[in-house]
Every structure is written in structure tokens, then in C-alpha cells.
């Protein structure tokens, strides 16, 4: 995707966000019942910020090229690696933690992450089994180390 196109899309999003904040601030309770000073209403600064963001979004939208130089492409990396990272980290943080005991959740996450990203298509079945064993051992030891360090050494309560 070209940066100029990405800037236009984000400008629209920011304009909508700024306008929403402006309206949210304007319609916010003015606490008249508590007889506060009219210039200290809670919605004042959100209104100003919403307006400022909408204004900046307009500049971004109409600015020829926010980069100030030739239009560049957004540097894309490996989409599959990113998708795997997102899937694994989100599964750990949003599902496993809080559902399973922390040690188990962490051991599963570290093992899965290490195994997935050590995977090689060229590896022999024997090498893959070895890799799997290494990942499981690393996951178990690392999870034990993290739990012991925080719970025993630093007295932090874990989920």
C-alpha cells in the first residue's frame, strides 16, 4: 500500500474519531445541578481535542504527501509470520491467561511459539522431533523460571 493512500484512509478514521469526541464533549453532562463554573465543564477539553484532531485529519487528507518527498510504499514484512505472532500472543493473553493456571498457560504459549518459529520445511522428521522436544523443554523451564522469579523472588501475584 502506498503511504499517501494509507494517510488518506487514516485521515478519514481520525476525522471521524475527532468529530465523535467533539460531539461527545458537547453533549456531555454539564453538571448544572452541582452549580459548577460553566468554564469548568468536563466536556470542554474533549471538545477542543476532538476539534484539533479533526482539523489535523483534514490537513493530513489534503496534504499532497505527508512524507514531504516521493510517495513511498509501506514496508511490508512476512504476513504469515505476523499472523502467527498475532494468533499466538492473542490466544495466550486473551484466552489462556485467566483460564488455565499461569504456569501451564505460559508453558503452552512458549512451547508453541518456539516450535512454530523454529519450523523449517527442509528439516528431516528426526530433526523436527528433536525441535519439538527442545521447544517443550524450553517452554517448561522458561515458564517455571518466570513463575518462580515473580512469585517467590519478587512476591508478585500472578493471574
Amino acid at each position: 500500500m502506498r503511504m499517501s493512500l494509507a494517510d488518506r484512509v487514516t485521515a478519514v478514521v481520525f476525522f471521524a474519531l475527532g468529530t465523535a469526541m467533539l460531539v461527545g464533549g458537547y453533549t456531555m453532562d454539564r453538571l448544572e445541578i452541582r452549580q459548577i463554573h460553566p468554564l469548568s465543564i468536563p466536556g470542554l477539553v474533549p471538545m477542543l481535542l476532538g476539534g484539533a484532531l479533526a482539523f489535523c485529519a483534514l490537513i493530513l487528507f489534503f496534504q499532497k504527501n505527508a512524507e514531504g518527498g516521493p510517495d513511498v510504499m509501506i514496508a511490508f514484512g512476512s504476513v504469515s509470520r505476523l499472523a502467527l505472532t498475532v494468533a499466538l500472543t492473542f490466544a495466550y493473553a486473551l484466552i489462556l491467561v485467566g483460564w488455565l493456571p499461569f504456569y501451564l498457560a505460559t508453558a503452552i504459549f512458549i512451547t508453541a511459539f518456539t516450535f512454530v518459529f523454529s519450523w523449517s520445511n527442509e528439516a528431516t522428521p528426526r530433526a523436527r522431533i528433536l525441535m519439538m522436544v527442545k521447544s517443550v523443554v524450553f517452554g517448561g523451564v522458561a515458564a517455571y523460571a518466570v513463575v518462580s522469579l515473580f512469585e517467590k523472588a519478587f512476591l508478585v501475584r500472578l493471574p
Binding site: 461527545g24 468554564l39 465543564i41 470542554l44 505527508a66 500472543t89 505460559t106 518456539t114 493471574p159
Partner: protein, 506 residues
């Protein structure tokens, strides 16, 4: 003289075996964090806050400062050996450090980088000890009007200077940060704003947001791109420890870079990378051999390293005296200070007059440890760089989760961290800087309450906002900074400069 005596006392009090042990492990960890591409100083300090909850205040601050100093220095290892800056602060270091390593002088380059970092931090400490009390005294005269301008100034300047594209993106990032700070209970009437669910009533926590944008976003970026390969560098340097003559040769460069780095550090939210680039550019302009820069100039290397290290004490000056962080890492330090019961701000010299000296003493201990490690453990750091991301990143993410959960014991904070990770990742790809966003979250409450309080005090009168002396200075700086974005203003200034030079020559 009094400051010197206080510093001596603080150094003596800190030189206990347990404190020296804390210095030793936290500095080593800091250097490793900094050396590993994908782990930044801010992320290291944010994660380290979790480990310091149960420590006493001085030990906790010492550990965090060592992590900060170590990580900024550690970034130079991978910049020199891999041409991949371990932290953004070391980007300028790689320009001359890597060519030196390719020429077989990796050891010499790392020795000089260490000397530069040590001297840069020392220059910064001297300025910090001298300037902080005066700045704190000046800050006592700040009223609501000035505090409002200070918050706005911080976000705007940070937005302008941290962006490597158009400043509008920096401003947008700053405004987004300020908007995030509007969520939850506000400071004047305890009215809850923009909070659809109960856990958001207290607002968005700084630590979860920071760990998200600097931690998870960094992990996603690192896994998205591929890890660099360790350059096949063979070290032919005859010595790692630079000779006194070698360092003395660059005394002017060191002093200039140290002062520039410290001053950049004082500017809210700007940070170490700008300090390094500004020092590097100034050294190149003044150099007798500017053509060597970028091709293995030892002067360029020492300028960049002195500059980024001097930012550390510089960034602590406004953090301690105004509660406005000079860098993103200093922002985490402020949060940690509050957690440990220290209230940074104008009252610090009255409530805890020894604290500045204690900070300076901690920085001196950190600098000594950095020098020792830097000159003796070069080979270990090279080995650390070989750790694959497949093993490193899941561990780092586990620390991100524990770090965000541990402070309030709420899973909600973990979800906030994940959300900010996604936001941070997307914004980074589109070249939005993260420092103004974080600074906005920190300064949002200050801006909000002081603007409304000022309006109440003046009963709607706007004149005091521009007629009070300190306010007027802030307004002037803000207007000049914004005006400089317009090409027509820059062209006008260039014309005036040319005319002045012409009339002087005539």
C-alpha cells in the same frame, strides 16, 4: 559546594554490598536488553518496574536507572556488530561503528563507544546537578496557566521533533495520547468521561498502554521483519580499552556532544535518538574530516554515543523538577517514582532536597558499571546477539503480560496492553511516532485540569494566558515551532540570514 557534599554523601550511602549487587545485575540486564534488536530501553524499563514493586524505593530507582543507562549503551553493541541498532538511540552509532567493525576494528569501535557513553553520561550528570535546583525553584512560580502551556508545549514539541516524516503525524499522535487521557474520572469534579465499562472508570493505565505500544508492537514488528544476521566480523583491533590520548583528541567533540545531548534530553519527550543525531550532525559540521563520517569515523562514533548517553541525565531534569518526562523511558520512570511514593515536580527540592543528589549518585554508579562491563565483556554481548527470536520473543511477551497484570492485579489491563499493541503496531507502520502518544497520556490530566482551573480563576479572561511572563515565553516558543513547519517562513528566515551574511561581508 553544598551539592558536591550531598553527592558525596549519597554516593557513600549507596555503596553498600546489596546496592552494588543491584547495580551489577540490573546494568548487565540493561546492556543485554539494549543489545538485542527488538527490545528498547523504554520497554526494558517498563518491564523492570514490575520487578521493583517489592523493593525499597532507593533500590527500585537504582535498578530502573541502571536498566535505562545500560539499555541505551547496549544498543551500540548490535549497531556496531550487526548494523542493526539495538535501540533507536543507536541508529547514528551504526553509521560509523559498522564500517569500523567491517574493517576489523570492532573491538576498538566498542571501546570508543564505551568511552563516549561514559563521558556523555558524566557531562549530563554535571549539568543535571547544576541545573535541576534552579529549574525546580523556577517551577515553583508556575501557576495553572503555566502548567497548561507546559503540557501543551511538551506534547507539541515532542510531536514535532520525534517524527521522521511530516510533523502533522507527530501532532496527531500527541492529540491521540491526550484524548486517551480524557477517559475515566476527571480531576476537577470526579465526573467519569467516555467510560462504557466499569474497569475504565479509573482511566487507561500508563503502564499497560506503554507496554503495549513499546512491547507488543515491538514484538510484532520484529517478527514481521526478519532477524539480521551477525556480520562475519573478525576483530583485528590491538586493544579494546582506548588510550587516554585517543580520547583526549576528541575532548571538544565529547564536551559539545554531551551538552547537546543533555539539552535535547531536557526537551519533553524527545529522547535519545534525536540526541545522538543532533550531536552527530554538529560534530560533522565542526569536523576537519567530515568526508570520513559514515565510512568509519571514530569521531562520528564517539559523538553519537556521547550524545545519546547524555540524554539520560538530561531527560531526568524536567522529569524530576516538573514531572514532565524528557524521554519515553523517563516517562516510565516518573510512573515508577509515583508507585514508590516519590512525587516528582516543583516541590521535590523542598520535600526531598537530597533526591537530586541521590539520582546523580545512582547515575555515577551506573556509569562506572557500564564502563567496566563495556570494556571487559565484549565477547559475551556478541554471544547474546545470537539468541534467535523464536526463543526470545515469547519470553519477552510473557514479561509484558506479567508486567501489566502485576500492578493492579486486573486482567483488564492485559487486554488494554493487547489493544495498545495493535494500535501501536499499525501507527508505527504508517510512521507515527509513539513518544508523543505516551507523553499525551501522561500530560493529558495536567493539561485538562489546569486549562479549566485557569479559566475559572480568570472568570473566562484569556489575557493571563499570554501576558504572564512565563506563559508568554511558552506561547512564543510554541508559535515559532509551529511557524517553522511552513515553507514560506523557512524561506523567509533563509533570506534574512543571507542578507545578514552579505551585509557583514560588505
Amino acid at each position: 559546594m553544598n551539592q558536591l557534599a550531598n553527592l558525596g554523601t549519597a554516593l557513600w550511602e549507596l555503596s553498600t554490598p546489596i546496592m552494588l549487587f543491584h547495580v551489577a545485575w540490573s546494568m548487565l540486564l540493561g546492556i543485554i536488553v539494549g543489545a538485542l534488536p527488538g527490545l528498547t530501553a523504554t520497554m526494558g524499563v517498563a518491564l523492570m518496574v514490575t520487578l521493583t514493586y517489592s523493593m525499597d524505593t532507593t533500590a527500585a530507582i537504582l535498578v530502573l536507572i541502571c536498566m535505562y543507562v545500560g539499555a541505551i549503551y547496549g544498543g551500540s553493541r548490535s549497531a556496531i556488530l550487526l548494523n542493526i541498532p539495538g535501540t533507536p538511540a543507536s541508529a547514528a552509532t551504526s553509521l560509523d561503528g559498522y564500517p569500523l567493525a567491517r574493517a576489523g576494528l570492532a573491538g576498538q569501535a566498542m571501546g570508543l563507544a564505551t568511552a563516549g557513553s561514559v563521558l556523555g553520561t558524566l557531562v549530563g550528570i554535571v549539568i543535571m546537578v547544576t541545573v535541576s535546583p534552579a529549574l525546580a525553584e523556577l517551577a515553583l512560580r508556575f501557576g495553572s496557566y503555566e502548567m497548561f502551556w507546559l503540557a501543551l508545549f511538551g506534547v507539541l514539541i515532542s510531536g514535532q521533533l520525534t517524527v521522521d516524516t511530516a510533523p502533522i503525524k507527530g501532532y496527531i499522535a500527541g492529540i491521540l495520547g491526550l484524548m486517551i487521557a480524557m477517559v475515566g474520572s476527571e480531576g476537577l469534579h470526579a465526573f467519569v468521561r467516555f467510560s462504557p465499562i466499569q474497569p475504565m472508570n479509573g482511566g487507561i493505565g500508563l503502564i499497560p498502554a506503554m507496554v503495549g505500544v513499546f512491547g507488543l508492537a515491538e514484538i510484532m514488528t520484529a517478527m514481521w521483519q526478519r532477524q539480521g544476521v551477525l556480520a562475519a566480523v573478525r576483530d583485528k583491533s590491538d586493544r579494546i580499552i582506548p588510550s587516554f590520548r585517543q580520547v583526549w583528541k576528541y575532548r571538544v567533540t565529547v564536551l559539545r556532544s554531551g551538552v547537546i545531548g543533555t539539552l535535547i534530553g531536557v526537551i519533553p519527550g524527545v529522547g535519545e535518538d534525536i540526541g545522538a543525531w543532533a550531536s552527530y550532525a554538529a560534530a560533522k559540521r565542526a569536523s576537519k574530516e567530515p568526508e570520513k563520517y559514515g565510512h568509519g569515523s571514530t569521531e562520528g562514533l564517539i559523538a553519537a554515543e556521547t550524545g545519546n548517553s547524555a540524554v539520560v541525565p538530561g531527560s531526568l531534569i524536567p522529569a524530576l523538577t516538573l514531572a514532565v518526562p524528557g524521554s519515553a523511558s523517563a516517562a516510565v520512570l516518573i510512573a515508577a517514582l509515583f508507585i514508590h511514593g516519590i512525587r516528582p515536580g516543583p516541590m521535590i527540592m523542598i520535600e526531598q532536597p537530597q533526591f537530586i543528589s541521590t539520582m546523580a549518585a545512582i547515575l555515577i554508579l551506573a556509569t562506572i558499571a557500564m564502563g567496566i562491563y563495556g570494556l571487559t565483556m565484549t565477547k559475551l554481548f556478541v554471544q547474546v546477539l545470537r539468541v534467535p527470536y523464536a526463543y526470545l520473543m515469547p519470553l519477552v511477551f510473557t514479561l509484558c503480560v506479567v508486567g501489566t497484570y502485576a500492578l493492579s492485579q486486573r486482567l483488564f489491563d492485559v487486554y488494554v496492553m493487547v489493544a495498545f499493541g495493535i494500535i501501536g503496531f499499525m501507527l508505527r507502520q504508517m510512521k507515527y511516532p509513539m513518544a508523543p502518544l505516551v507523553l499525551g497520556i501522561i500530560l493529558g490530566t495536567m493539561l485538562d485540569t489546569n486549562l479549566r482551573r485557569s479559566l475559572m480563576l480568570g472568570n473566562g479572561d484569556l489575557w493571563p494566558f499570554i501576558t504572564r511572563p512565563i506563559s508568554a515565553v511558552f506561547v512564543l516558543i510554541i508559535l515559532v515551532a509551529i511557524a517553522l513547519n511552513f515553507a514560506v517562513v523557512r524561506r523567509g528566515l533563509a533570506r534574512v540570514r543571507t542578507k545578514l551574511v552579505w551585509s557583514r561581508n560588505a
